[in-house]
Amino acid sequence: MSWTRNVLRVNLTEGTCTPEPLNMEWATKYLGQRGLATKYLVEETDPNVDPLSPENLFIMATGPLTGTMASTGGRYSVITKSPLTGAIACSNSGGFIGNEFKNAGWDMIIFEGKSPTPVYLYIENDLTELRAADDLWGKSAWEADEMLHEKHQDPNLKIAVVGRPAEEGCLYSAVINDLHRAAGRSGVGTVMASKNLKAVAVRGTKGVKGINDPKAFFEAVNDGKQVLAENAVTGEGLPAYGTQVLMNVINGVGGLPARNMRDVGFEGAENISGEAMHEPRASDGKPNLTTNGACFGCTIACGRISTVDKTHFSVKDKPQYHGASGGLEYEAAWSLGADTGVDDIDALTYVNFVCNEDGLDPISFGCTVAAAMELFEDGKMTTEDTDGIELRFGSAEALVASIEAVAAGTHFGKILGLGSKRMCEKYGAPELSMSVKGQEFPAYDPRGIQGIGLAYATSNRGACHLRGYTIASEILGIPVKTEQTESDGKPELVKAFQDATALVDSAGICVFTTFAWGMENIAPQIDAACEGDWSVDKCLEAGERIWNMERQYNNAAGFTSDDDTLPKRLLKEAIKSGPTKGQVNRLGEMLPIYYEVRGWTPDGVPTAETLERLSLA
């Protein structure tokens, strides 16, 4: 069912659920999920809307390949205006709920307004109802998930839910689905909670139908799966070691930031690496990693399912954390570990569990703790602020206390809930926030890896590796190796990655397929599933169109080229040691070329010619 052609519009203020037809004219230009839902947001909201006001929209959207037999075809995204950044937000999640939306017959659900009391949306195919959630309010995401499953007596019910910090306004709250998958970034969970919407519970049994050319689709999908299976990364590396295999790689090449990006290179990296997750521990002889796991329809299975050492201080009196749950992915292991200077893998795994349990973005949380640690060590923050926590780099106890503070909404938890930008401004040291447009950095240092710095600076949702993962080329040699400390050619590389990713994020499949798939593998699957022309060129054009649409939204929301920048630390403070010693990010060289390559003015505004070319005029 490429598109179901059905949108569910939920007016939370009025308490109504109203079906409407999908705008097919837009679908043929913006495909689905990220692109199509952003088009709805752009058309229906003022870019200057307060993200936490009833006037903001909150959209859950699938892509045309979601729910089909395409490998990884289970993705969905949350699209809204971010309270963390004030920019466009689009957070993508796997698990199983995307498929369930599609099987219930909905391409997307648009929430508008604000409910006067806590509610959840219940969907069972055509049955769509807002129901009271007073009993769920104040519960963690895991508790609410369990209560909803019990209430409906349906183990197949799929649930997306926010935790307690979202209700309290923590600005990097995630929407958790299937217990440990997350639409994680940009505070999309905070928007959901601001509407008094605690959860969405969905069951779909309509099945998959409506593929435009079933025979061609079957062939294209099978070809794609074969490519994934035979590729060393997607067929072997990711299932065995997950994304965490990168910890030693990035540390080895001089690209791993540490201690709030004060340093590059972390001496404890190997203790928190993908390889370390396989090592048996002393207490019970079991490794941190229990097994790998897959989202709906995925033939890669990169997910980590882990346990914490039951004797570890973080969980020894908390049996509820003794079972296996979503384990460390690379970005989380970096932010919770290297960036805070903590190399205790059990502490990191526990903190990651709590991020899932209570719906927090571990990247922004870890980076905010790292910034607070620097504020603390600089004497700008004291134990009066931290509720007595000795917040020093390398302290696993401080890290654990910090996540529990945010989850419980304590005085210090609320300070951390501001995110690093607002918190560092509050303590008079805005330069210590390692963020772009207010969103914290992922796990690659832009001094040691030039292109990713440009990708961070120009990302439409603030610092993010998933908007243009140039690491694939600059470090991993996919599809071709480029020199990591070279800035020449990076503007073109960043644009190519950004446009292709925008298309993939709009299709309903996982961006990790692109470690093996090129657009020549993806386009035939979309083209067979959907009506219209989805050739390679048209797919790339749609990706570029989506990127420019997001840029126009941000520009209209008040962002300028001044916001396409990096923290001073990354532009001025050279790396002190290691293979990338002496490097700073050369954004000033790359940015003007990037604007030119994009067909934008020197001020970062798409020209009339570019808008015309992309049918955005």
Partner: protein, 87 residues
């Protein structure tokens, strides 16, 4: 006469760890190689399939060009990964 030997370190990661001799602590082992040994010589010595020697670093710097021409020196750290990715 045998060439004098130098001490260096070999690091094999991810699925390549199984190629390290038993008793190796994690992924790193000190090895002795004759002077004049190249990166490719070590790859051959440890039976690392060519297609699996994907990321090859000496002291953290990529060796992308001719690995036979890159001669190792004392205390060098040679690190090798198979094709991997994440994010």
């Amino acid at each position: 006469m045998d060439k004098p030997k130098i001490k260096m370190h070999l690091e094999l990661f991810a699925s390549l760890m199984r190629l390290l001799p038993p008793g190796t602590s994690r992924h790193k082992r000190e090895i002795k190689v004759p002077q004049g040994t190249s990166v490719q010589d070590v790859i051959d010595e440890y039976n690392i399939p060519l297609e699996l020697a994907h990321i090859v670093l000496v002291n953290g710097v990529f060796v992308c060009e001719d690995r036979s021409a890159h001669i190792l020196e004392a205390d060098d750290v040679l690190s090798i990964w198979p094709p991997v990715a994440g994010g």
